[in-house]
């Protein structure tokens, strides 16, 4: 049903720590691997070894350069996958009921056998979380590894999304963001987790923890004042040279 549920019993989702992410793309690879071999149509690639490879992925890592006026510039690696929005616009536009948001845990899923591949849900998503599979021609998206998190055949430590299990930096956290006492909710509270594009009104469940403030450059070295090498105003020979060159 493409009407959104009034409320969901849980709000399962991810918390992504932009301070810790090192941009290794391991989560991308493990996501592609798990979701190709398990639930749903495999995530295909076209022309994988040719000049213009293209394929479907459920998780992609961007990198952004932030250069604030009063602080040192820094680079932020930015993983992005489905945010399992409470007010998911991708669900309500679906004409067939293939897209739905689960009442029990809030996961947004696609029933691939009902998907006509019209692409409208991908149009409605501001985050680029949905991609049409180039071979299967059905819409693919993050399932929050619904086939891992409830899978009692797996060891307990593996009952988390593949990306979370794989991340070597511990930058990805999984839990119930509807429970204010859950580890992830506390983390979001402590670190000031944010919503992406809040003005779009999607109410994303996934949260992003901003990078911690970096040290200021002028605090870094106590010897710096003694190493002041160049005078603002040249003197002596250089003063003469400066004036002469200006005069020419």
């Amino acid at each position: 049903m493409t009407l959104l549920p009034e409320r969901t019993e849980k709000k399962l989702g991810l918390v992504i720590d932009l301070d810790t992410c090192v941009g290794c793309h391991a989560c991308v690879v493990s996501c592609k691997g798990w979701n190709t071999e398990n639930y749903g149509a495999p995530l295909s690639d076209e022309n994988a070894f040719g000049a213009n490879p293209v394929g479907s992925f459920l998780n992609r890592i961007h990198s952004y350069e932030v250069s604030p006026a009063d602080k040192p510039a820094h680079l932020v690696h930015f993983p992005k996958s489905c945010l399992h929005c409470e007010n998911a616009p991708c669900v309500t536009v679906c004409p067939t009921g293939a897209s739905y948001k689960r009442v029990e845990d809030g996961i947004v899923l696609v029933n691939e056998s009902d998907c006509i591949g019209c692409g409208l849900c991908a149009w409605a998503c501001p985050y680029g979380a949905r991609e049409m599979d180039p071979v299967e021609k059905v819409m693919k998206k993050c399932t929050l590894c619904v086939d891992r998190i409830y899978n009692e055949n797996l060891p307990e430590e593996d009952q988390v999304p593949s990306c979370v299990r794989t991340c070597p930096a511990g930058a990805r956290h999984f839990g119930d963001l509807g429970d204010p006492n859950s580890d992830v909710s506390i983390l979001v509270e402590e670190r000031g987790g944010t919503d992406l594009m809040p003005e779009q009104g999607t109410l994303p469940v996934n949260k992003y923890l901003p990078p911690r403030p970096k040290n200021q450059m002028d605090d870094t070295d106590i010897l710096a004042p003694y190493l002041e090498p160049i005078a603002d105003e040249p003197d002596g020979f250089f003063k003469w040279l400066d004036k002469t060159l200006d005069g020419i």
Partner: protein, 291 residues
Amino acid sequence: MHPAPSVIIFTTLSGLGFGLLAFLCLGYPSAGGIVGFIFFAIGFGLAIGGLLSSTFHLGHPERAIKAFSQWKSSWLSREAWLSLFALTLSGIYALGRIFFDIDLTIIGFLSAFFCIATVFATSMIYAQLKTVPRWNSRITPITFLIFSIAGGALLAGQISMALPLLALSGVIQIVSWISGDKAFAKSGTNLATATRLTSNSNEIRSFESPHTGTNYLLQEFAYKVGRKHGAKLRIIGIILAFGMPIIFLSIPFSHLMALLAVISHIVGIFVIRWLFFAQAEHVVGLYYGKR
């Protein structure tokens, strides 16, 4: 947005076809027999041809019937139902008109209503998308509706109605371009809100894409080809869709002039619809440092 030919053909032809059917079902012109048959054949040909064309961009057209199920929330599903009502009712009206020379007035009114409602539903598929600020405006359904009504009047040979409607369509289109050009900036979505890494979007830029090649999102949403000719194409579109037909219809009537007016109008609407997609920018492009 990627201007897929199937969707451009669909919105252009169906809009015209449903506009024509609306006029025919209201009795403009109230021709029966062979003339009525030809008019209705053109109307159904355009409307159904357009709808069939829209199925070509589906990944799984064989499941298209499922699109009738979610009318409670989805404009695409509502469009499916409304077009079914419109085609069925105007089919009944056409049978009465052509073969029995009777005027089923109430069915005619209902057909016209559903024809226009179908065009409205089509326009709302685009207008509902907050992700495409240029479309996310009341002016989107207004342009779709006025184009359909003006084109319908033109095809139905209602010259006295077509002339002011074509002129009005041109004006509304120009207004929609002026407001649409500002829509993205006005929406308030930028790379700063997209990443929340800073409050000033001038302090952040995309350093590296997630991959060296392209992907579905870039192909579908970050279409840029031809945008540089946007200004020229707008002028060409306005002249072909509205200017030339007004001139052709203003000189003494002949079937040749009417045909030229119709052809010019259809080509012009194709150009304008192409721009509607090609110039629309999806917010996801921001993540890739593109618009």
